[in-house]
């Protein structure tokens, strides 16, 4: 194998850059889904000579394109007549196997010829989690000579500072026995697929066995900075087999902790900065729906941007408090502003973007708003079935309620 020579040219001098940019733009126009690449200025190349032959392979990369260019090929005109499958037998580009005995399929990508070079654009930009090997068939050169394969690696992406847990909700350290879910917030996007190995419910030094609803489709927000962790509903619900067999995962009067391991990896594959522990005490189950008649409203003054506030007699769901309350002004116009949830999710406040006017306003609240045990304004987590008419009555529950207030 030839010694590995890599040279990186972050910024090419004008003539070659113009050529590469032209080639890449031609390729992008035909191959990449019509997306404009604004990162061409960052073309980097790595070039390697194939043994003593005239053939060399160059890897040209931008942030979203990776192209292997094979130069110095003899008989290019003959090669042009070959189809992609035939070409891939002469120039094979694949991930280098971790164990030598495995033959991995070659990379998805597209061949083309430009100015006497054979170009292979990989279907995806190269990953820094593997190395790539370029194998050239001896048929390309002197049939008697065995051409070495060349190894390439993409430049490792710059690592962000290690992520950490920024908050866990409910934020209170007193939680009901039938708590239904936690939200874990991170400072940076996290990696999917390991959540349930990294989160533990501890009772003293003992881990509670399988307390959570472990789903292949882990429940993240789009940025993967917030993870929703449901307690296994079969353990929360009364009368179902998991709970009959194991009992509830947490029992009133005891202390528990939620432990989040630092080995949990962020999206750029770094562990968390530290292990996070949330300690809490468990009290009796909450079987009651939130009761809006006990809520207190704090009314702002006209011509100010003081917040309007709602104070509840229990903690409600942090995520839903941020989503399902809407403030409307005269004629039902939605008022823009910022929502804050505080005091262990017992207080919601809304600061308008523009000063209040002297008018009637209302807060609309979707009745799917839940407390910590999954009891919503519309229905308790568990409902006793009395008869069919009872069932039908519940189907008629309003989808929202309103709290009116007057600003003066």
């Amino acid at each position: 194998m030839s010694p590995r020579k890599e040279e990186s040219k972050p910024l090419l001098s004008p003539p070659p850059f113009a050529v590469v940019a032209f080639l890449l733009s031609v390729l992008m126009g035909s191959i990449v889904r019509g997306q404009e690449d604004r990162t061409l200025a960052k073309v980097s190349t790595q070039s390697q000579q194939v043994g003593t032959s005239a053939i060399s392979v160059e890897l040209r990369e931008t942030s979203n394109l990776s192209i292997f260019a094979v130069r110095g090929l003899p008989n290019v005109d003959r090669l042009r007549t070959l189809d992609a499958e035939q070409l891939s037998k002469l120039v094979t580009i694949r991930v280098q196997p971790i164990k030598g005995d495995v033959v991995l399929p070659s990379l998805l990508g597209t061949f083309s010829f430009v100015d006497g070079e054979l170009l292979f654009q990989s279907r995806f930009p190269l990953s820094d989690s593997v190395r790539y090997q370029v194998e050239l068939s001896s048929q390309l050169d002197d049939p008697m000579r065995i051409l070495p394969s060349l190894l390439f690696s993409t430049h490792p992406k710059p690592k962000l500072p290690a992520a950490s847990v920024s908050a866990v909700y409910p934020s209170s350290d007193v939680l009901p026995e039938n708590l239904l879910k936690f939200y874990v917030h991170f400072t940076a996007p996290m990696s999917r697929g390991e959540a349930y190995q990294r989160i533990h419910l501890m009772h003293g030094n003992n881990e509670v066995k399988s307390p959570f609803l472990a789903l292949g489709e882990e429940l993240w927000d789009t940025e993967q900075t917030r993870f929703t962790l449901f307690v296994h509903p079969g353990l929360v619900k009364r009368g179902v087999k998991p709970r009959e067999d194991s009992g509830p995962p947490m029992s009133s009067g005891n202390e528990y902790s939620l432990r989040i391991d630092s080995s949990w990896q962020s999206a750029d594959r770094q562990p968390l900065a530290s292990t996070y522990v949330k300690k809490f005490r468990v009290v009796d189950a909450d079987d009651q729906q939130p009761n809006p008649t006990t809520w207190k409203i704090g009314t702002p003054k006209a011509n100010t941007t003081e917040p309007v506030t709602l104070t509840f007699d229990e903690s409600l769901d942090h995520a839903m408090l941020n989503r399902v309350l809407v403030v409307r002004g005269p004629s039902g116009i939605r008022i823009e502003g910022d929502t804050t949830v505080e005091q262990h999710e017992t207080r919601w406040s809304f600061k308008p973007a523009n000063p209040w006017k002297s008018h009637d306003y209302r807060v609309e609240i979707a009745t799917n708003l839940e407390d910590l045990a999954g009891n919503s304004l519309a229905r308790p987590f568990e409902t006793k079935i009395v008869d069919e008419s009872d069932q039908n009555d519940r189907a008629k529950v309003a989808t929202q309620i309103a709290v009116d207030f007057f600003v003066q």
């Binding site: 196997p97 995806f124 489709e217 927000d221 009364r238 067999d245 999206a267």
Partner: protein
């Protein structure tokens, strides 16, 4: 995921409304703006339905794969996750196979894959033919249609949508696409019913399903996986009961009550199910996270005759089931043909595709 029904009479009844539809009904040519390829199912004519949890939509893609296979063949692909990862230029650790379905017309196997584990992971769909040869299913310049969820999160926060609905299963049924999902905020039990071909104005509707069991306590637990059987939906819930819901009861905007017909046990999650026929007997085969692969005898009479489980649970409550001892680590399954099933088997980071005779 589509499971061919054991009742051919029912299948015929389901296909009649679509007989006049071509594969590309309601489709246009282009590149679907798919952000994630998760749960999948096949609609008629080789149309692949793909659930996009991140984009809150279902895509219907005309694969053009609509010719019957010449002969039924066993497909076995060792280390499928390593092979798929190599083709997309990545490592097995950075590659996730989200779902596996069989095209009932051709017998080809389809895999939905994420390239990467972060929020910018790219969706890729692969096809494995009867010889086990893998190829990418192109999502560029294809005929497709899209149904966005009617109550997708609003965009007031720009690109960031904290609320998502994870799509846990999809099935095509009688001119409709049925979608089971799980919200990452409210605890809700919803089966979305969408007309297929999608009717463009997002007239998707949602149905809340309650199951009245457990000493007359009911909750709205989410559905994890489901199949259709004899004009009913058999749904496995996250709290692990198996529930029967008559399809006629699934009316948009209503809440309906299912019947718990089996309890599947503790420390366990149902993963995937198929219905098949052997001799004159119908069976349900179910992969589970901790309790292996279960086989249940099914019949309309049994389901109707089974007393709903409404009291404290004995281990054998409801329909009896057996656990297939030889099958371990099965995370996905689908019917390959009348006699065989194809499995995605996971074991310590390695995943294999295996074909078995239906048990």
């Amino acid at each position: 995921m589509l499971r061919r029904k054991s009742s051919w009479a029912l299948s015929l009844a389901l296909l009649i409304p679509c007989a006049y539809l071509s594969a590309d009904s309601g489709m246009k040519e282009g590149t679907p703006d798919m952000k994630h390829a998760g749960a999948m199912a096949f609609a008629p004519h080789g149309v692949l339905l793909v659930g996009d949890t991140v984009g809150a939509a279902i895509f219907a893609i005309d694969t053009g794969d609509n010719q019957a296979a010449a002969t039924a063949a066993s497909v076995n692909i060792e280390k499928i996750n390593e092979k798929v990862a190599a083709m997309i230029g990545s490592s097995a650790e950075e590659t996730v196979i989200n779902d596996m379905v069989v095209n009932p017309l051709s017998g080809n196997i389809y895999l939905s894959v994420s390239r990467g584990r972060g929020p910018s992971a790219a969706p890729v769909i692969f096809k494995a033919d009867a010889k086990g040869a893998l190829s990418e299913v192109s999502l560029t310049k294809v005929k497709f249609s899209k149904a966005a969820f009617a109550n997708a999160p609003d965009s007031k926060e720009g690109a960031r949508n904290p609320r998502m609905s994870a799509i846990t299963d999809i099935q095509y049924m009688d001119g409709k696409v049925v979608v089971a999902g799980l919200s990452n905020e409210e605890f809700a039990s919803k089966l979305r019913l969408m007309n297929y071909p999608f009717d463009g104005n997002e007239q998707s509707t949602s149905v809340e399903v309650y199951h009245g069991a457990h000493g007359k306590l009911e909750t709205a637990s989410p559905v994890r996986t489901f199949v259709t059987y004899e004009n009913s939906v058999l749904a496995a819930y996250t709290c692990t009961p198996l529930v029967n819901i008559p399809i006629g009861d699934l009316k948009p905007g209503t809440k309906t009550q299912g019947k718990t017909i089996a309890e599947l046990g503790n420390m366990n999650q149902p993963l995937d199910m198929i219905v098949y026929k052997k001799g004159d007997q119908d069976y349900l085969l179910m992969a589970n996270s901790a309790r292996g692969v279960m086989k249940l005898k099914l019949s309309k009479n049994d389901i109707e005759g089974t007393k709903a489980i409404t009291s404290r649970i004995a281990d054998t409550a409801g329909l009896p089931y057996e656990t297939i001892k030889d099958l371990k680590g099965v995370v996905q399954l689908d019917k390959l043909n009348a006699k065989q099933a194809v499995l995605l088997v996971s074991n310590e980071g390695r995943q294999d595709i295996r074909t078995i005779d239906l048990p």
